[in-house]
């Protein structure tokens, strides 16, 4: 029982990370039907910016988090403008291949500058190293921070998407881009904003992971990126609640597998989930059966 509770707490922390990354995948997919494979690398860049701020500039956690989010926001917008926007009228596969190209570009550009070695965030402020024993379940301050920051960001995102003008524009563009144009909505700006939001969340996830695992490297975005993608597909790609559900589900599945079985099998189980979802419910748990627009 304690073991189960412990693994669920761990799963909640890991799931928060996946959920943050999955949100970016799902929002971008919702608006331009692109699986942005460079998204995991934006998360990696976020982790490095956080590292640079905390280790070299000696900034605090919150400042570093905010700076990493800001840098990733700009990066996301630049990627969209430079790599994807010129392909707006191209085939989907062309954009997808471009996304993979951007992904490799980010990974190896980073490697060129910082080397392939794993870096550590170093010694964290003492308050972040605390942990609490709640009825035999160990909860670390890092986990509390990860879950707290993630939930806060999700609430802010939900507010932006539901209540603000630009959020309504995002939803309008994702439901019917031409009709949105007829309302005077600038589709290009709305797409940029979507990339900005998603990338900011990925940047935050990068810093949180850096703090949590205390190890970052230029290829760290590959696997979490794929898993967050699976999380988005699991919940129903294009759906924000689906990304949250999928993120937490994949996080919990991973920690339970490594807790009860072996951490060697976590990847296999997660990719197994993808296969099962694609076979039995390709639109995801929350997705309706798609009616192709005529």
């Amino acid at each position: 029982m304690e073991q189960l509770a412990q693994q669920l707490v761990n799963g909640l922390a890991l799931g928060s990370i996946y959920a943050l990354i999955a949100l970016g995948y799902t929002m971008v997919y919702g608006i331009i039907q692109l699986i942005n494979f460079a998204h995991g690398d934006v998360y990696m860049v976020g982790a490095y910016v956080g590292y640079f701020c905390m280790v070299h500039l000696n900034l605090g956690f919150v400042e570093s988090l905010v700076i990493a989010m800001a840098v990733c926001t700009v990066l996301g917008v630049v990627i969209e403008r430079v790599a994807y926007k010129p392909l707006r009228k191209s085939t989907r596969i062309a954009v997808l291949i471009t996304a993979i190209g951007v992904s490799l570009l980010l990974e190896y550009t980073m490697m060129f500058f910082v080397g392939a070695d794993t870096r550590t965030y170093g010694v964290l402020p003492p308050f972040m190293e605390q942990s609490f024993n709640v009825g035999g379940v160990l909860i670390t301050m890092k986990q509390i921070i990860i879950i707290g920051v993630s939930v806060l960001l999700m609430v802010v995102l939900q507010y932006i998407v539901r209540r603000t003008k630009v959020g309504k524009a995002m939803r309008a563009v994702s439901q019917d881009a031409d009709a949105a144009r007829l309302m005077g909505i600038s589709v290009d700006n709305t797409i940029s904003f979507t990339f900005a939001l998603g990338s900011a969340l990925a940047g935050a996830a990068g810093v949180l992971v850096g703090v949590y695992y205390n190890a970052i490297n230029p290829l760290m975005g590959v696997l979490p990126g794929l898993k967050a993608f699976i999380a988005a597909v699991f919940g129903g790609i294009g759906l924000i609640p689906g990304a949250l559900l999928g993120g937490y589900f994949i996080g919990a599945a991973e920690t339970l597998v490594s807790g009860y079985w072996s951490s060697l099998y976590t990847d296999a189980v997660v990719f197994g989930i993808l296969i099962l979802v694609l076979i039995f419910k390709p639109t995801g748990l929350l997705g309706s059966n798609v009616r192709e627009k005529v």
Partner: protein, 234 residues
């Protein structure tokens, strides 16, 4: 108020509009009638800036808007109710209407326009929290028109508002269009239902495979043999 000059539009190898010209004066309802595939929707899409013409000009109040973005044209008061309504299905009625006022910054007059729309379409008021996708066809058409009104159009472009609606509803929609026009909004109405369109329009144009083949007052067109035979079922 709206002038289209020698407009030519093509997609790939197909020429959809082969140089059409028409004009709509302030306060008029002008209808563009024609069969399926004649180029009616293409005309409106080009006027709204969703499609770029190969040649020709679109003028609003004498000013060339041919190169302007769709957004800039909405700002100029050129507002379209698209074919098939195109409401945002997973957003509430209220949100759809708010999006109509997307470019407006005057919150007070937006709120009063919203009241006006709900007064004009009481059925939308009852369903303001409901997703637009769950509305009936007629309600969706009302929502699409209400949404367009929220952006305070100078010229309202309507694309087949009668499509897929029961005759009684078509009557209702057309009398609403007349009312809107009586309130000072200029209307360009694209219709397959020539009979209804010519009843409320002042003037009309007949479009056939990308060309305007006839033009005249509504009365003239209604009495033309060609129009009677091809579009009025008699």
């Amino acid at each position: 108020m709206l002038e289209i000059k020698d407009l030519e539009v093509g997609f790939g190898g197909i020429t959809a509009l082969k140089g059409i010209s028409l004009s709509v004066a302030e306060g008029e309802i002008v209808t563009l009638i024609g069969a399926n595939g004649a180029g009616k929707t293409t005309t409106l899409r080009t006027v709204s800036g969703l499609v770029r013409p190969r040649a020709g000009k679109i003028l609003v109040d004498g000013q060339d808007v041919t190169r302007l973005s769709a957004q800039a044209r909405v700002k100029r008061g050129l507002v379209q109710v698209p074919e098939g309504r195109r409401v945002f299905p997973q957003m509430s009625v209220l949100e759809n209407l708010e999006l109509g006022a997307y470019l407006r910054k005057d919150a007070k007059s937006v709120a009063s326009d919203l009241d006006d729309v709900f007064a004009r379409f009481p059925r939308l008021a009852d369903r303001r929290k409901q997703h637009a996708g769950t509305l009936s066809g007629g309600e969706q058409q009302m929502l699409a028109i209400g949404r367009a009104l929220m952006s305070r159009p100078q010229i309202l472009l309507l694309d087949e508002p009668s499509m897929g609606l029961a005759p009684l509803l078509v009557q209702e929609i057309f009398s609403i269009v007349s009312e809107i026009n009586a309130g000072g909004t200029t209307v360009l109405l694209v219709e397959q239902n020539a009979n209804m369109a010519l009843q409320i329009a002042h003037r009309g144009y007949v479009l056939e495979t990308g060309k305007i083949v006839l033009a005249g007052t509504a009365a003239e067109l209604t009495s033309t043999d060609e129009v009677k035979r091809a579009y009025l079922g008699g």
